[in-house]
Amino acid sequence: MATAELTKTPPADLPLEPEMHPLVQNKHTLVSIGDAVGGVVLAGKHPRGWWIGFLAGMALLQILAVSIAWLFYMGLGIWGINVPVAWGFAIVNFVWWIGIGHAGTLISAILLLMHQKWRTSINRFSEAMTIFAVMCAGLFPLLHMGRPWFFYWLYPFPNVAGVWPQFRSPLTWDVFAVTTYFTVSLVFWYLGLVPDLAALRDAAQKRWQRIVYGILALGWRGSAIHWRRYEKVYLILGGISTPLVLSVHTVVSFDFAVSIVPLWHATIFPPFFVAGAIYSGFAMVVALAIPIRKWYKLEDLITDHHLDIMAKVMLATGFLVTYGYFSEIWMAWYGHTLYEWGTTIERLFGPYGWSYWMLILTNCVIPLTLLWSKKVRRSAFWLELISISVLIGMWFERYVIVITLSREYMPSMWGRYAPTIWDYGTMFGSLGLFLVLFFLFIRYLPMISITEMRELLPKKQGGGGGHSIMENAP
């Protein structure tokens, strides 16, 4: 009798996942999803919000252009960098931007492998965010080189001098990690776009749209054989992007951790950096998604439930980074090293102590108290403010780490660092580059995956019932 009880299958109509929060609201169909997402691109009508974002980005981009032109003319002396703080804003911004990019890969790859279907409505634009963020990140080491036109010296290439890179250096690892990260993100993003581009090609009314989207779609026609190969490639890309995203920020943290600077030379750096990257990345996704879904009236597809989940991810990663801050102080105290503890005291109460407390306020106190409330997690207004707070906090985290150089071992090595107007110009200018690229993207490419949203639709509405990619890609 007992075995009969065990083998009894549940009734077929029992839903495995109770649809408490439908991921697609209203009675969408295959056509209406195409209209809601593709229509934004094809009709070419854009809300006032688009112009506000684009023009703000354009204005900041001009500042970047002027800052870079002046930098090339005058040289690195126009920045505030000095010895001991030789990297300054350049590495702060590099790490901040790279970190923001990581949420895109996390959403598109890790959540794909974990069958998290809610990722579908945000994965496309967070992947785009990744690519643009990595472009902004790449700008800073290039500009910091002093002679950026020799950037190719970073790569191994046969040259007259017979010199090759030092492959035991984390800085060389960084070159390979960031290059790979950018390329793989681009491949992943483009591959995801191909079926959507085909959908746009076939739905387009204007001739130029048919030509441009037709070329970009590579002649995709939705063949079952092609789909099977496509899904396999997409799945493997998800599988290799998952360790990739962890490796990239680990390598970035090695830039610090392999040195012997007190508080940098710590084993906690790789996981601590990865958690921080995901934290700031999700903050950026939320900060972008909230205004965009409002301007484009996509609340049916990016629902409050999505905001709620992303806020929970922020809450979890926020606690991880807070644990990291605690652990840094604990290890310095427990390790009983004069320099570690002395540098900690300088970090907390020294000349740049204000930046540490700014970090604690914006990264720990504000988000981690407010995000507990479900009301806050489902309020677009509050979530936008909290995300901006986290973005500022994560910037300060890297600032605090970099400024550690101003007070390390011997007082004779100590110094002060102050950014100049050109540091600020390059930093805010890079935000302009990001905004311009992002707003051009939502104007010309589908910001939500049409194909994947169609798959997510229930079967009775014509969709694929939200099958997972594993089922189709043996």
Partner: protein, 191 residues
């Protein structure tokens, strides 16, 4: 029209345009799966299903249960990893010998990050280019694009095309077979 070629009405100098195949349109994915199974059972071998989103059962019905992408990408990744590792070893040991603190030239732990990154890079690029090559892409025109109805293959319709190159293909008999599957419409697609 250059890329998508919807102007099937363009007068040609040939007497009769060659036929690519018979295209049947279905309303749902399940209907397409059902039709594909029947068609392969009836002995058709040169046929393909088209859908706006992946429907794995169609590929199963077409006797394509497993794609070749896994082994291809594995080989790509393996090549990249080996290249990455031996590049570092050769260059730092022989190409430009670097003695860092008396450590051995084959200090493999420090070569791990770049080996890994090269593996990921080559796997991804192999996947992209192999997919494009194996699917016969990019191609800017395909006979199916001559069909106006086929525009909906990327929207809300599901198609089964039995190609004229199929040994069992017969204009009348194949059309009758497709009609027995109760499609929304049947169309003869020209080359």
């Amino acid at each position: 029209m250059t890329t998508t070629g919807h102007d099937a009405s363009t007068p040609t100098t040939h007497s009769a345009p060659a036929v690519y195949g018979l295209l049947a349109e279905f309303e749902t994915a399940d209907a397409l799966v059902h039709a594909t199974r029947k068609a392969t059972k009836a002995g058709y071998t040169r046929l393909d299903g088209y859908s706006p989103y992946p429907v794995g059962e169609v590929a199963d019905a077409l006797n394509f249960p497993k794609s070749e992408m896994g082994p291809v990408m594995f080989l790509g990744g393996l090549t990249g990893a080996c290249t990455g590792f031996f590049m570092q070893y050769y260059l730092n040991a022989y190409g430009y010998s670097l003695n860092v603190g008396g450590r051995p030239y084959l200090s493999w732990p420090t070569f791990v990050p770049i080996t890994f990154e090269m593996m990921v890079l080559t796997t991804a690029l192999t996947g992209l280019f192999a997919l494009i090559a194996l699917c016969g892409l990019p191609r800017y025109h395909h006979p199916l694009f001559n069909s106006k109805a086929f525009d909906r293959a990327t929207c809300d319709s599901f198609f089964l095309c039995i190609e004229a190159s199929d040994p069992k293909y017969d204009p009348a008999a194949t059309r009758a077979f497709l009609e027995s599957l109760q499609p929304l419409s049947i169309e003869e697609v020209t080359e």
